[in-house]
Symmetry: C2
DNA sequence: CTGTTAGCGCATTCAC
DNA sequence: GTGAATGCGCTAACAG
């Protein structure tokens, strides 16, 4: 018993326009099959009655819902909103709606959302997934799936390659006189985290400078601030953080302890989500999240249209953005 | 969630269990109407076949999709993500999914999204809507609707009341010596903007200080920066901005022109989305967006369950957060 | 070109 | 308790 309030259906329009229901349907889905004046008459009637096609009914009949799901670890992390926004508007170009899922960095939550969305989406984009490779593969086997910042072979993925930017950062730090640095790591299951950590280590090794790792298991201001004690204990003179939020927390913690930035200590962030808002303004690695969102969605759309999933591995390069938390360091 | 491609329907299960389709349906929706052993037999068959109820078909039949829509002007504006996140997790408590809509501050886009979502959501939350009252009323007549930061009588709405905070701000500015201030306005159709402008004017009038208005039609860093010329031209010594983004832009523009903050000029933001990240750290008005998101969604859920829409008008108070873009002003 | 006839998968009256 | 119909709103053959 639906008893909907907006009860204007295809039948109402058909009656008003004096045509069959199927013609109304056609007027909206394949106008070329009808004579122009019939289409006009139907559209006019539809407009007048305020008819809006019921997507649920259409989906039941066609099997195509015109929806996709976009799942992210944390909407409130400034890295994601631009990506979401870009994905959203790309989806719109294809007249698709997007379900947004927030996992709170919790794999179980992620799995649960995937299940909850299943059956009403045609495909899904998983951003910075914290799921295991096996779980991801399982889901990918059931429906079109595109990954962002997660590298699982065989599954279409778009990767923001922070290695070039991070390497630049380490080189930059070496050049201004640092001999020992620390990488403040992000979520353990994050592909980006692994990639960044590896990039730091590799470049440091090449340049002959020392590097230690300090954990900040969640990418946030608070986690960064809490890591400061451990950072200082290493004796390093510079920190490369997993992301800008963490870096900002580190900055705050350092300043709180009376350490002068950048004179006594250098800090580098990642993702450039803060712009020049911090003081001193943060040296960081550029971000390609908007492109990532757009490409991920258009890739998914392409999969939906062609029905085939190529093993694409789309890399988006990055570079260092030098601001004021590094240059100005005075070697002692 | 378990895997395999679906395609197994209620009929398959019915056949396998040797019962009618309606019994299978009941086994999942009203098990108490069936004998325990029948339920067990059906569930066993369902499990064995990997049956999973088709959400779309169920929705078409019942009119309940278990989805709601959340529409915001700009996902990337830091004011919204915490609200989205809160709404999201509140929805989850009721096992609802949320469609996210981004309007890019465009009323036509907002209207279009509303139509596109129609038929697959049970209700919608409209945040900071740029639609006309009439349009909002029209949509509210068709389906459960809750407003955030928009005051339309008769429609359930939750309002972040920045008046107290803004008034405090003006008083604060007067106390530290300002005699003329400017309000840098936000989107013309924004309820928050009107409310804030009125609060500034009222308090200023009471305190006997002058106030002018400068327009920044879109709430963004860039818009704020561009407004600086006009702000300076008024001869005011302090600015209250529509929001923190705008304030941050103003700050940047001012500093760029060599104006010392807060010595020569005071700036106040609104919404406290930047924390203490700017330099000098921004004096601003507190924000209640998380509560707004939670309350909006639980209100909507309540409407969905009871079927009635009370004319609630939920106000969330605010206060001034004094940081370093105001105190330190030196009167000349 | 357009009308007629079947379903899509499920929930829900009714009978039994 | 359970089964047999009916319909949710729409699309997709199949005729004319």
């Amino acid at each position: 018993m639906t008893g909907r309030k907006d009860g204007v259906t295809i039948s109402d329009v058909a009656a008003a326009a004096g045509v069959a229901r199927s013609s109304v349907s056609r007027a909206f889905t394949r106008p070329d099959m009808l004579s122009p004046e019939t289409v006009a008459r139907i559209k006019e009637a539809a407009e007048r009655l305020g008819y809006v096609p019921n997507h649920t009914a259409r989906a039941l009949s066609t099997g195509r819902h015109g929806n996709v799901a976009l799942i992210v670890p944390d909407v409130a992390n400034p890295f994601f909103p631009p990506l979401i926004r870009a994905a959203q508007s790309e989806a719109e170009r294809f007249d698709f709606c997007v379900f947004l899922g927030n996992t709170d960095e919790d794999p179980r939550q992620e799995d649960k959302l995937l299940g909850r969305f299943a059956g009403q989406v045609e495909g899904v984009v998983l951003v910075s997934s914290r799921l295991s490779d096996a779980q991801i593969r399982a889901h990918a086997a059931m429906r079109p799936l595109v990954l962002v910042n997660r590298d699982v072979e065989g599954i279409p993925r778009i990767l923001i390659d922070s290695a070039p930017g991070v390497s630049e950062a380490v080189r930059h730090l070496a050049e201004i006189g640092h001999r020992k640095i620390v990488y403040v790591s992000g979520p353990p299951t994050s592909w980006s985290n692994k990639q960044r950590r590896a990039a730091v280590r590799n470049s440091a090794a090449k340049l002959g400078i020392e590097v230690e790792t300090v954990a900040a298991p969640v990418p946030s201001y608070e986690a960064g601030k809490e890591a400061v004690g451990a950072i200082l204990k290493t004796g390093a003179t510079a920190a490369v953080a997993f992301d800008d939020l963490t870096a900002q927390g580190i900055l705050a913690g350092l300043i709180e302890r009376g350490i002068a930035i950048p004179k006594d200590f250098s800090v580098v962030g990642c993702d450039d989500v803060l712009g020049a808002a911090t003081y001193p303004s943060l040296t960081t690695v550029s971000n390609r999240s908007v492109e990532a969102g757009t490409v991920a969605l258009s890739l998914l759309m392409q999969m939906l249209q062609t029905g085939i999933a190529h093993d694409v591995r789309h890399m988006l390069g990055t570079h260092l953005v030098i601001r004021n938390t590094t240059t100005g360091f005075v070697k002692k």
